[in-house]
Amino acid sequence: MTPPQASPAQTPSSTVSTQSAVAERLAEIVGERHVLSRQSELLVYNSDGLPGYRRQPKLAVFPGSGEEAVAVVRFLAKQGLPFVPRGAGTGLSGGALADDIVVIGLHRLKKIISLDVENRRATVEPGVVNLRLNKHVAPHGLLYAPDPSSEAACTIGGNVAENAGGPHCLKYGVTLNHVLAMTVILPSGEIVELGSKVGERDGYDLRGAFIGSEGCFGLALEITVKLTPKPQTVRTLLADFMSVDAAAHVTSAIIASGIVPAALEFMDGPTIRVVEDSIYAAGYPRDAEAILLIELDGLEAGVAADLETVRRVCLDGAARNVKVARDEAERMKLWQGRKKAFGAMGRLAPHLIVQDAVIPRTKLPEVLATIHAISEKYGVVVCNVFHAGDGNLHPNIAYSADDPAESERVHKAMIEIMRACIDAGGSITGEHGVGLDKMGYMEAIFSETSLNAMCELRSVFDPERRSNPGKVVPVHACKEWRAVSGGRLRIAEPPAEVHEPRPLEAEPARPSAR
């Protein structure tokens, strides 16, 4: 284990907590089985869905109830210890990594607290898995609209932290548009209600500010979400094209036609072939250079008319074939291929970069051509699978990190791709969040004063910067912050009554107890 950065002389002995002392106290709260402190058991918590990044946590604690979570946060607050909240660890920006500090896993908080069918809302704990909630409300003709591709594994708490989207957010909006209220424990241990469960609220939209704060503002312990009635009719089309450009133009044409599809997804040739080689083979034409998966939903009559319009737009735009799923089974199969595409790329090479950027929709043909040119220039295979309707690109590169030369080329290609997206007037992330991965790009799209305004907002929720430190906004962008040796955050001039965040002391060497 890495030695502590701070020398004992700098840390007053009265506030020293050894790792075992902290672990013991946490075990008193949650039970011994739910505190991990052995290095070998913490290994699996050193990465999330983007395994290229690894940060070794010092301790992991898994509260089993809201009360336990409150006790854990308050204990850590009292000790002045920093922590990282974690859901299912499916995030794709390294946002849930804890560098030598405590991980609070919220996956055990998986109760659906209440379901109000008449008013179409549900209150859940943060560890409830997105798909579980959907299965729970489906018998009542309702659904929870945000559907990230990881819906089978990711938690609602994580969705709130990342402001998760998904294919259907083109029409239905992202997590932000579906969360009404939250009970939040601030890093200080104070509990606040953000938003309103039963109506609208005046004043600052603290709910809106909290959603997408990537675990830097505290932990949502109860989340009230809006549920959406299942549409009367859903129709899914698959259009295939012999050129990426044609599919990109058709995307713009569909949007321009005034129809808001429930989803409009794009997959390019390399992606199609990877999917077709996987167990999720969806029957996509292997020889196509691009396919569009278009879903329309709503009232029967309107969908039927829109279906014809979309079909015509596709064929006018040089689609080779337009196929409409005949039944639910066929529709699910078409979607499986899309939703599991990212995992299927694991077959190509041992390592994978899953990129996330947004561009204005009209720039799709241009940017896709640029990405293609970049991939040729560096001799890498870029698989494009993305939410075309939103202009939310996911250029992915499978490669072998064991090959330094290839890694270097991939690295350069990714920088150029991001540059192209930024130059097109886009954003560096549409749904994966900034986390660790995108932090370096923040200064490319935000000015110093804008980044500082974000730091200030964070400081209101978490004045000691103990919740998910070192993420989202680069430390040096925050005026009154500064980094100390080892990159650990300290408060420059801590108020007298505030404990300073500090690392846990390493355990004195002793023989293994087991």
């Binding site: 005046d202 309107g302 969908v303 947004v358």
Partner: protein, 378 residues
Amino acid sequence: MSTQAVVSAVKESVETASPLRIEARATWLDAGRPVRAHKTLSLRDDSGVVGYVPGDLTLTVRAGTPLSEIEQVTREHDQWLPLDPYGTSDGTIGATLATASAGPLSASFGLPRDLLLGLEFVNGRGEVVRGGGKVVKNVAGFDLSRLLTGSWGTLGVITEVTLRLYALPKVDRTFAIALKGSEQETGRVIHVITESALSPYALQYFSRPAVRALELGEHPVCLIRFGGNDAVVRAQVNALSQIAKPEETESEIWTRVRQLDGSAHTVVRISSLPVQFRAASARILGDDVGGIYVSIDPRRGVLRIVVGGEDANGDSGTAAIGSSVDFHESQGVIFEKLPPDIWSAVSPSVVSDPLSQGIKRAYDPRNILNPGILGDLM
């Protein structure tokens, strides 16, 4: 007027410790809100389109741009910004967002915060800050756009905004259903419409006095607006005809609905669980007190009471509100407009919680932006 001019004005105010009242057309801020400022920073002239790519369905405008101008610019490309806040289209987009004002379309298209993609503002230190971006999906950085929406100018002077547009529907028709029957019968119609698969653009119920002011007759009325392709509108009209007797009315009616509170001295918005409204709607709509206009949006869960129309009688008005609405059952009682002298008595600060206070102090440490408008700092 430019962002730089706003920066200079704010910096000057900081230096001279003279708070600013921020306005553009000065329509919403005329809501009687108690702003303690002698100087006014007007964004009236800071208007115009900055960027509009119809294919992207996004529009970037200066904050002082009136809604009517946005309507006109987007209509040329068969697009619109589906925001219809109460008042007139002379109001500006900046004020609409700063006050988070929403109208009947919001149950379908979302509140102002849902249509905002990014913005630029000048904080209370005279620094230019941008939040969000110009694309329709974006999670880069903490969400300053949502924070500024509904902050009534107290955290920053909004100077520029990027909005999400929609294509204008091919067909846009509005129908009125007169609720002539007994309270029970009215309740039944409301229930059936709510439970139906109809998916209207807007749906509102109006009490008798409001209906009279709208010149729609003598009975409570349900106004319902359908949009989309021809087939979907026709199918819904047919379905509606099975339930009730809808009469088509010109879309202009919505403009009049928005202007109902023109001469009001008090506007109260009560929001609650949609079901609670459904239960009480029939009874509330039956009340007939002169000068008190009640409208109900059952899908959004909002009941709006406008007091002080031309034939208003102040005392009975207040009594009527009390008799119609059980304040204990609804959490969100929001005063949109009040006579200036009763603000402090009726509406305590809505930003008195520590988080809101902290944000205010961080963004406007000298308290020079619209001080007092949301209540006082503790």
